[in-house]
């Protein structure tokens, strides 16, 4: 109880968010069926945000690098798979894509991380910005810059479910379900890998304390390659799912930038945080766009909504003010 009292700002913010979430339902501004549909849609988008954020969290946990390039990696992986799939079956394209991402991880460790070891976090952040630009240019030079399609072979037609409970039923995409299941499987696999294998244990050791891990004989460089490879594979999965939904194009990268507020919300070092944060952001911005934007447009005479573009960031900003370590992060933030 005392702990709660101390965290009253977080509670207040949470209460406002929950109230905002249920407001359309409570005020009767939307039919229950439509509301559930919007929330479900948000959850589905959230799953994809979570996938990108997962890559961030993994790398930050293991190497303390804030990987701005995660978005570029998603785009690059998706581009590779999309173009390779034109030449070979999809599974082979994915396999080659994984090889490419591992090679990329190795190169990054060799050429960027190793020379910059022991630098400040900010220098590393800027280095990953450089990697972002390089990867964008490289991907589009090699694979082209049109919009490409990834066909996962899943029917895209929406289906109606729960017609008996809600008027008119709820429209959901089968593809979204596949995405959610794939993301869940990925998270489960990662959790098993981290908890049960010796490499996973080494990764956790590095995450806890670089120097201690090194002193007991864990090869830091190899661990970084592994972590970046895993992040690359996560990026590939995220990229393929996003790509099959929206088409592989440059704007994927901007969507991937949304993972930044997600990790802020969830906490930089927490895998669970990345998942929950992604879901909150996904639902939050969808509900805000559908229900809040029209009110704003009417009140301020705007030229259209589109508050999706900033809602996640402003939410993260508010969170930073009341709880800088995020929902599940370690309380280790530097304060002045």
């Amino acid at each position: 109880m005392e702990k709660l009292a101390k965290n009253w700002q977080v509670l207040a913010l949470g209460a406002v968010l929950v109230a905002g979430l249920f407001a359309p339902l409570a005020t009767g501004a939307s039919a229950p069926g439509f509301w559930v549909e919007v929330v479900l849609g948000g959850l589905m988008t959230g799953v994809l945000y979570s996938l990108v954020a997962l890559g961030f969290a993994l790398i930050f946990k293991a190497s303390g690098v804030f990987n701005f390039a995660q978005g570029a990696m998603v785009l690059f992986a998706a581009l590779s798979v999309a173009r390779l799939a034109e030449m070979m079956p999809l599974w082979a394209a994915m396999a080659v894509g994984i090889v490419i991402m591992v090679a990329f991880a190795w190169l990054v460790e060799r050429l960027v991380l190793r020379p910059l070891v022991n630098q400040e976090g900010i220098a590393l952040l800027m280095a990953t910005l450089g990697v972002t630009y390089f990867l964008d240019g490289f991907g589009q030079t090699v694979w082209g810059s049109d919009i490409y399609e990834i066909n996962l072979g899943i029917p895209k037609e929406p289906v109606m479910i729960l017609e008996r409970i809600f008027d008119g039923g709820i429209l959901v995409n089968k593809e979204d379900f596949v995405a959610a299941v794939a993301a869940g499987a990925l998270v489960l696999a990662l959790a098993l890998f981290f908890q049960k294998t010796s490499t996973g244990r080494a990764l956790r050791a590095v995450a806890d304390d670089h120097q201690a891990a090194q002193s007991i004989g864990i090869p830091l460089n190899r661990i970084w390659v592994i972590v970046w490879s895993i992040a690359g594979i996560v990026a590939l999965v995220a990229g393929v799912i996003w790509g099959s939904k929206l088409g592989v194009q440059f704007s994927l990268q901007l969507i991937a930038l949304k993972a930044l507020p997600v990790v802020i919300l969830g906490g930089f070092t927490s895998i669970a945080g990345a998942i929950v944060g992604g879901l909150i952001i996904g639902v939050g911005e969808k509900v805000a766009e559908v229900f809040l934007a029209p009110i704003l447009v009417k009140a301020f005479d705007l030229a259209g909504g589109g508050i999706e573009n900033w809602f996640a960031y402003v939410l993260a900003l508010l969170f930073l003010l009341v709880r800088p370590e995020g929902l599940f992060g370690e309380k280790r933030i530097d304060r002045v």
Binding site: F66, Y133, L135, L302, G304, G305
Partner: protein
């Protein structure tokens, strides 16, 4: 041999503390200014002035502003493109709604508005730093982009969302030709660079640097982080706002919110990394680099008879930018300005090695 301070004795404190203590530096600076103010407008072609030199100067001013914040005070911002937008739109609205204002007043008002907005988004910096702050400023970027795209009042209800301004006029004098525009921008940029140079030498700049180097220690010796950080945000955003207003009024003439998107913010950051964090000179080097590189990339393949498509050039540009950022961070974290300083040091000792 020519570049030596031998024999230049300083007899007063004023002489000891002047901005350029070595006589040759002063002569060089005067020559540079004379070159910029007299020779460049006489001999540079209209294309060169309009497409390269004026954007270079304005972006230098913006990079200088960001450098005050990131290089001197150590606070990363990914939202300075948006603060440029604030400056531009504020100046547009002041000019539109109070037409009798002088352009310089409009410019300063634009800068002040940007400073206020910058301070507002700088408030999180009091609690968070580094990576977290980067995301907080990213929020500013996306939010401000959206505001100017959607709130019709700011664009005077223009249907396309873009705004346009007439040529800058001051006391009946119209800055319409590229030479006049260039001289206007040059005068403003030179003035602001001088101000910045003095600011960072003084009490304010030193408190910023103390915060940057070690915030706890700075607080212990009596520097108030709140004032230091917010003043850095304010001054930096003011500079960037003025640069944004110049960018809109002098360089673009008509613009839409997309002109100030996240890529501009990132470009500004690249300028100061490549040019040199914590260096006034470096801001100019970095801006020159970023402005000239795409032009060169466009030209060089043609010289060798390998024409590249525009798309290809822009991709290559991305790759080279990215590679250079990493290269500079590894090899020379202090950027081109550091190379310049090393060159000067070598010149002083020449022909002896030590």
């Amino acid at each position: 041999m020519l570049y030596r301070e031998n024999g230049q004795f300083k007899a007063t404190y004023v002489a000891d503390q002047q901005m350029l203590p070595i006589r040759q530096d002063r002569i060089f600076m005067l020559a540079l200014l004379a070159f910029a103010f007299v020779l460049v407008p006489m001999f540079a072609s209209d294309y060169l002035l309009r497409a390269i030199i004026v954007p270079f100067l304005i972006l230098s001013l913006a990079a200088l502003g960001l450098n005050l914040l990131t290089g001197y005070c150590g606070q990363v911002s990914l939202g300075h493109g948006a603060f440029m937008a604030v400056g531009a739109y504020a100046a547009y609205n002041f000019g539109l709604r109070i037409p009798e204002l002088n352009f310089l007043v409009v410019l300063v008002l634009g800068g002040c508005t940007a400073a206020l907005v910058g301070m507002l988004f700088g408030i999180p910096s009091l609690r968070i730093k580094g990576l977290y702050l980067a995301v907080a400023t990213l929020a500013a970027q996306f939010f401000i982009d959206w505001v100017f795209a959607r709130v019709k009042w700011f664009t005077n209800n223009s249907s396309s969302g873009s705004v346009s301004v007439p040529d800058v006029t001051m006391l009946g004098f119209v800055f319409d030709s590229p030479e006049r525009k260039y001289l206007l921008v040059l005068a403003i940029v030179a003035l602001f660079a001088l101000l910045a140079k003095n600011l960072v030498r003084g009490h304010v700049g030193r408190s910023w640097m103390a915060i940057r180097d070690m915030d706890v220690a700075a607080e212990v010796i009596g520097i108030r982080p709140v004032y230091a950080k917010l003043s850095a945000f304010a001054v930096s955003s003011f500079y960037v706002g003025v640069a944004g207003a110049l960018w809109g009024f002098v360089h673009l003439g008509s613009w839409e919110p997309l002109a100030f998107n996240i890529n501009l913010s990132l470009n500004l950051l690249f300028m100061i990394i490549i040019g040199g964090l914590g260096s006034i000179m470096g801001s100019f080097f970095g801006a020159a680099f970023i402005v000239i590189l795409p032009v060169l990339l466009n030209q060089i393949p043609a010289w060798f008879g390998v024409p590249l498509s525009t798309a290809m050039v822009s991709h290559l540009e991305f790759m080279i930018f990215g590679a250079l950022i990493v290269f500079f961070l590894i090899v020379e974290p202090h950027g081109l300005a550091r190379l310049w300083a090393i060159g000067k040091e070598k010149l002083r000792l020449w022909p002896f090695p030590h």
